[in-house]
Symmetry: D2
Subunit: 341 residues, 4 copies
């Protein structure tokens, strides 16, 4: 069945598989010290226009969030996130499992507002009892957000200014970073992202890799003995090459950006089809995830013809569902969708 359920339902971009095959019998050292991890790191540093960046490859998004957050926080600190943030809701308590609280703030369309953030931090330090509370030790945002929305460059600049004023690192979850960077309304480049935060990751799993996320520490701030911390979390791959080769490929000949752009093109067509068929959007998303409002009675029949994601109930009569495009979505997929809607 044709699926718009998520951006991780197919394998990897064929060029990635081809490189895995080509390099397969080469002897390479383990744990990320192979040639491909090095080459991929160089290419990422270059693409970020950030020669001092330190790059580390991990396997998946929740793992990366837990590693980055737990290794950068002090024991008395927690991480600020939107109430709708992935770490707040959909990681089964992976952050709390490392001993740290997620300090949940109100959001708008998945985004944290700089003034809400500043107000929160100010109040914290004004509170006479703040030494009995969890200190704000990091700010977590996602780009695009869990609702497919994007911070403008101005919004991110303001947010980062608050972080810097209070010496709190800003961490950007880029599980779908490519789709944000290539959005038609997106105003930010990879170097902008690298400049406007302390650490971020470039998502591979949802952007054409079999698995893998590239963490980028941009401010000479890689935690000491990070490899040991990763091992301690059970997150260190023996054959680090598996991720190195994938990112080396994704950052060769613009592949990461090209396949991200393809997904955006497909999403724009999908939006047209949905509008044309008279459906409403839950919100305006400029990236590959589209949130559509369906009448409850249409839900079940449609489920039998195409796969999509359940998002949330909207009152008694409607349901918000998610259609996601990806690097592997085709024009045929869209034509099929047009037919069944």
């Amino acid at each position: 069945m044709i699926s718009f359920e998520s951006d991780y339902t197919t394998g990897a971009h064929p060029r990635i598989l081809q490189r895995l095959v080509e390099t397969n019998m080469e002897v390479q050292p383990g744990y990320g010290s192979d040639d491909y991890c090095k080459a991929a790191s160089d290419k990422i540093r270059n693409a970020c226009d950030c020669p001092e960046a330190e790059v580390f490859f991990l396997t998946g998004g929740t793992q990366t969030n837990a590693m980055v957050i737990s290794s950068m926080l002090q024991k008395y600190e927690g991480v600020i996130a939107a109430k709708t943030g992935h770490i707040s809701l959909h990681e089964a308590g992976a952050i709390e499992n490392t001993g740290h609280k997620v300090l949940e703030l109100p959001q708008s369309e998945g985004k944290l507002d700089a003034s809400v953030l500043e107000q929160y931090i100010k109040q914290f330090y004004q509170d006479d009892n703040h030494e009995h509370m969890v200190f704000p030790g990091m700010v977590y945002i996602s780009y695009p957000t869990e609702y497919g929305t994007l911070y403008t460059k101005e919004e991110l600049t303001k947010l980062y200014a608050v972080c810097r004023e209070y010496h709190i690192p800003l961490f950007i979850d880029g599980a779908r970073l490519g789709y944000g960077l290539m959005s038609r309304t997106g105003s930010m480049s990879l170097p902008d992202i690298a400049r406007l935060c302390d650490v971020f990751y470039i998502g591979g799993t949802k952007v054409g890799a079999l698995c893998g996320e590239a963490v980028v520490f941009t401010k000479n701030n890689k935690p000491k003995y990070f490899l040991t911390l990763v091992k301690r979390q059970g997150a260190l791959l023996a054959k680090g090459r598996l991720i190195g080769i994938q990112f080396d490929t994704l950052f060769t000949d613009n592949l990461y950006f090209d396949i991200s752009k393809h997904a955006i093109d497909m999403a724009e067509k999908l939006k047209e089809i949905i509008r044309e068929k008279g459906y409403r959007f839950y919100l305006e998303s400029p990236t590959n995830q589209q949130f559509v409002i369906l009448d409850n009675e249409k839900l079940e029949p449609l489920k039998k013809q195409v796969r999509f994601g359940f998002w949330e109930k909207l009152g008694n009569k409607h349901t918000v569902v998610r259609f996601a495009t990806s690097w592997s979505t085709t024009e045929e997929d869209l034509e099929y969708l047009r037919d069944v809607l």
Copy 2:
């Protein structure tokens, strides 16, 4: 200076000290196996009208919350609490330190509503992705709440019914339990409390003891090897008698209830004085904590004459402050307050 800052600014009720002196040279075994812990447990079981209750003595409130919650939750579970709950805000992340998330729900005057709770749990299980989320594994409330308010018997009955329906234990934080039980508008007795939850604790520190809280497991549900778990948390006192003697004294000749009633009588007089002096209350509290709205300019002069607690800013011009009475508050203290207000 006269202080209404909190209910833990003086030592212990004199009868407690007297008993400590009288029993001082007796040889007693350690770790809670002494005669006084046994006697106190018996008296508490009796006062709770719950012969099968298992009682365990700990040192302080945050410790007790962390011990009860972490020992009763499964690793995939978190604890539901009001956003204003003590464990949500004022325990420096002690629950998260045990690896569990506090699932914060909206509240009203510090209280969780049964229908809000039920809605949350229902939605959780309806969510296709709930296995990627933190399971609701316990409900935490406080009686009285952090705002001095009380659940009615009807409210607690409804809340507990939801918990039972979903097989989720209900835990009542009774750091100030005596003040709730003896409130003039309170409708609940200690046996009611014991019946309407799975585990609760009787606060000693804030109700006349030097330290100590008595955890009561009321449904044959004391976690296996709880003593070992307490030791592992660094919470096991070698001289368990210190707490046993205190609770034995508090539950002899109605002392716990009498001194709680005294604090309530003092709180009612304090409310009269505050009303008489034309101040407004932030909310109507029937227990020993009173939340008063002060003009900001009056704050500093008043601070020089009497001690009280800062609670929170209210707009730009006002501040909410807390006046607390306790077992040791005197009529003279109140007369003094009348003079300085």
Copy 3:
């Protein structure tokens, strides 16, 4: 340079890559619910002759050890292991990171002895203070051990009998399981392994996969909501197919066993060469890891010609080094080694 440094220096068996390519564009659901994870589980159940076995795929060895141990232990328990066990020494504290102690016992050639184990458990329960100690809650062994040695069927049977007597689950780390099963002196089959423990894992990373380990719960004892626990640890792959396809391939047409046998054949030839060249072994290993004693002065020259692993100093003049064969070792590799030794 020719390398005998470890069994994870090349990619994956070519048939695995071929299957990844063939299935690449298929739409499959995430998180291990794909067709390949199901097929692989069926084949593994079959190969184990254990129809009730529950199989779960994880990414690497340390992750698997931490997941299995932390999800099966109670909070008051620790895991017994040999002092030389992988979890004791070489996992950067991954077990302790989950809050559990590794209870280290003396060993012989990497193996735990049943009588030493029984003695330890007996003494624990005889100790009046055992409630102040970490309870033995699981026994961890590896097959083959970290020294390449193997438990005989009799030894394992005795060890498991002790575990069953004390109701303590036995966990077998099978990171290199294939090499143990196909050893010429090994007396155990996969069904024997499945029968003689409560949970074990079949190593992929070191036996021809890019990554992946298959955990097998053999006694209807998969921890409740294990998927949630895996997510909470950051160990759940979105594209679970990546590991499903690999194990489906490894357990098709006897591949896992055939490539393991190849490594053993190569190891036997390597042993001949080493003996022939007059070197001594640190111990007699019947599997793919060979521990050889080198004079310190020969160490540096040899390092320039062939890669091998440093193991430990032996007195002042000698060093123990490790030569490992794998599924990808060739006769040419061995001829080269013969020449340089």
Copy 4:
């Protein structure tokens, strides 16, 4: 029944209770900011001849060990201790509960040897794989040890030199510190202790207090926001005065040292009695704990007449038991013991 079971079977030194009574109705702020905690800190700094020392009061020994160790270690580090160390064996895994491994080294009569320690640390850093292992991040010793023995000044000086060379803090568990300082063969003063380590604690629970241990950070090294860390562990007392008053009393008029000396005097008499009665010692202990070898058949009859502690089996026919004196042991207790032996 007369008891030599431990040094925590009676209450507190009467002067402590007297001070608790005298100060009972004073209004004091909470959480250790009271006048008595301040006064006690000053007196301890003075007694340590270490004006820059920072003092923090906690409730019990295991709690203190977990707090100090977890707040001073990095996440990739563990704590080195003797295999017989209290944190290794008798704290129910409290250190591992904070996520850190106890790196257990061989010992002699409960003591770590400087050369064994140095060898261990050297080997760790020489190991090519040490980034896959737990880093040594602290050294824990106890003074007196769990066997009642004492490091000589020379031994401690050497041990601390190794620690300083490798920049690893040395932590001394002084649960029974007074008994070590006042031992007739002890060569160390409190200032010596303060000088020859980075952090230690002065035990109160086992030396005349109801509860309480005074942590002393001697090298300007109190962890940042230590109060918050203590709160997060559930270890912060609301009425901090309870411990402040006790240590203020213990460090007034030499009380701590006088009552420790008394226990030593009683222990020396106890040793005479035991020798005189023909019993053997398991080892020569110069402090208040005496380890005596009993024939198994004498064990049960003796248990009916006097309380003592079980230590361990010694072969098939003998048992090692512990007799402990304390500040509250009397000449009459000893006469009684002489009669029953």
